[in-house]
Amino acid sequence: MIEFDQVNKTFTQRSATGRGKSVHALHDISLSIDEAEIFGVVGESGSGKSTLLRLINALEAPTSGVVRVNGVDLAALRPAEKRLQRRRIGMIFQQFNLLANKTVAANVALPLSLHRRRGMPGSNSRASTEATGRGSAETSGRGAAATSGRGAPRERALEMLDFVNMGAHAAKHPAQLSGGEKQRVAIARALVNEPDILLCDEPTSSLDSQHTDEVMATLLRVRQEMDTSIVVVSHELEVIRGACDRAAILESGRLTGVVDIAAPEARERFNSYSERARRYLEGGQQ
C-alpha cells in the first residue's frame, strides 16, 4: 500500500544572510507498509520521523527515490491531482490543528465541504477510488460508522463525532475541549472522507496518560471497524508498542530496522537508542 524506495530528503535551511545550508533529514529509506496495518515510526527528536510521514501525503517531496501510495508516486503528480490524492489520506497532528473559530461539527465537516464546493470526484474516498480506479477492494468494506459518506456534510460530521464519542460536543468550539477531546475531534475530521490511510504525527505527545489511552483506543477502533491503514509517528515507545503491528526505527535520518511488535519481557540495559527501541518494541522492558 505504501512503499518507500531508496528515499532521500534534504532540506535547505536559509540563514539570516540568505545563505543556504543543506540538512539531510532522511538517508536511503526503503520500507513498505501493508493495508490495514498499524505501522509505527519511532526515533528521537530530529531523527526524521515527521519528514517520513509528510512524504506519504506529499506535503514534502523526496530529494531522490520514490514514495508510492497505492502504486502512485504522489510527488510526480500535477498539483490538482496531488490535492485529489491527499483527500484519500487523513492526517492528525500533535497540536490537533483544529480551526479555533469553527465549531467542532464544522471542523469535522470541513474536508467534505472542500470537496463539494469544488465538485471534484473526491467527496468521499470511495467515490475518489472509483474515479481514479486505483483503490483496493478492501476500501469498500468499511464498518458501519463509515457507510454513509454521501450524506450531508453536517450529518456525516455528526456521525463521525459519535464514532469517536464526541457527539455531545458538536456545538462547542475547540477552546472548550480538553487535549484528548480535541485529538478525537481531529481523528473524526481525518476520517470523515473515509480515507485509505490515516497518518498520525505524534498524536499523543501533548496528552496525559489517560487521554493518550483514549486516543489510542480510538485508533484501534478505526482499524477494526474501517480497515484503515494507520501510520503513527511517535517518540513514545509505549504508545507504539501498545497499538502497532510493526515499527520502523529511525536514528539520524537512517532506518536502523523494522521490528514486529510483541508482548513485554524482563528489564534489560542497552548501549544505544536503536538497541533499546528495538528490544522494547520486540517485547522487552525499557
Binding site: R83, R86, M91, N97, N101, S113, G122
Partner: protein, 225 residues
C-alpha cells in the same frame, strides 16, 4: 447661549449634509478597502518570502504599491492624483472625486493590516489546509479568513477611523464632509463654538465605530472560549 443655539439651528442642515458627505467618502473608500485592499493584502501574505505561495516578483509589486501610496504625503497625493481622478470619475471636484484618493489610501492601509493579520494565523492552519487537499482559494476563504476574521475586523475598524481623519482635508477638492465644515465655519469664519461642536461630533462617531468594531471582533473570536 441663545446666539450659539440659533447658529447651531441655522447650520443644522449643513452639519447633516457634511456628515452625509463624510459617510459617502468613507463608504466608497471602505468598499475599495474590502474589495481591493483585502485581496492585495492576502496576495502579499501568500507571496511573501516563506509564504504558502512564495512569488518574489508578485510580492515586490504589491508591496511597492502599498509603500508608495502610504509614503506620499496625503495632500500631495490628492493633487498628484487629479488627472487619474478626472479620468476615472469624469471630474476632479466634489465628494465623488474626493473618494478616489481616499480609496487608494484605504486600499493601501487595509492591505498592509490584512497582511499583518494573516501572518498571525498559525502555520499549522496552512499545514492543515495542505493536508486536506485545499486549493489556494480554499486555503484563503475556508481556513485563513475564518481564523483571522476578528483581526481583520479590528484592522478595518482602525482603517475606518484613519479614513475619517484623512477625509477632513478633502475640502481642498470640494469633497465637503465634517472636517471641511469645521474649517470653513470654525477657522475661516472664527465661529469656534461651531468648530468645537463639529469636533465633538467626529469624536462621537469615532468612539461609536471603535466600540462597534471591538464588540464585533470579540463576538467573532473563539480562540479562547
Amino acid at each position: 447661549m441663545n446666539e450659539f443655539g440659533e447658529r447651531l439651528a441655522r447650520y443644522q442642515g449643513e452639519i447633516i449634509t457634511s456628515i452625509l458627505e463624510t459617510g459617502a467618502m468613507l463608504g466608497w473608500s471602505l468598499l475599495a478597502a474590502v474589495l481591493i485592499g483585502l485581496p492585495v493584502g492576502t496576495g502579499m501574505y501568500l507571496s511573501r518570502r516563506g509564504g504558502p505561495k512564495e512569488r518574489g516578483w508578485l510580492y515586490a509589486g504589491l508591496n511597492g504599491f502599498v509603500n508608495v501610496v502610504r509614503s506620499v504625503p496625503f495632500l500631495l497625493f490628492v493633487v498628484a492624483l487629479i488627472p487619474f481622478t478626472r479620468w476615472a470619475v469624469g471630474t476632479s471636484f466634489g465628494t465623488t472625486a474626493a473618494a478616489v484618493p481616499l480609496s487608494f489610501v484605504a486600499v493601501a492601509l487595509y492591505a498592509r493590516w490584512a497582511e499583518q493579520t494573516l501572518v498571525e494565523v498559525p502555520q499549522a492552519t496552512v499545514e492543515l489546509a495542505d493536508s486536506l487537499g485545499a486549493s489556494t482559494s480554499q486555503l484563503v476563504t475556508r481556513f485563513l479568513y475564518p481564523e483571522a476574521r476578528s483581526g481583520l475586523v479590528l484592522s478595518l475598524t482602525t482603517v475606518t477611523i484613519s479614513m475619517i481623519s484623512y477625509s477632513t482635508i478633502m475640502g481642498v477638492v470640494g469633497g465637503g464632509g465634517v472636517g471641511d465644515f469645521a474649517i470653513r465655519y470654525g477657522y475661516q469664519r472664527y465661529e469656534y463654538d461651531i468648530m468645537y461642536v463639529t469636533i465633538a461630533v467626529i469624536v462621537v462617531i469615532v468612539m461609536l465605530i471603535q466600540a462597534f468594531g471591538t464588540r464585533l471582533s470579540m463576538a467573532l473570536d473563539h480562540r479562547s472560549r
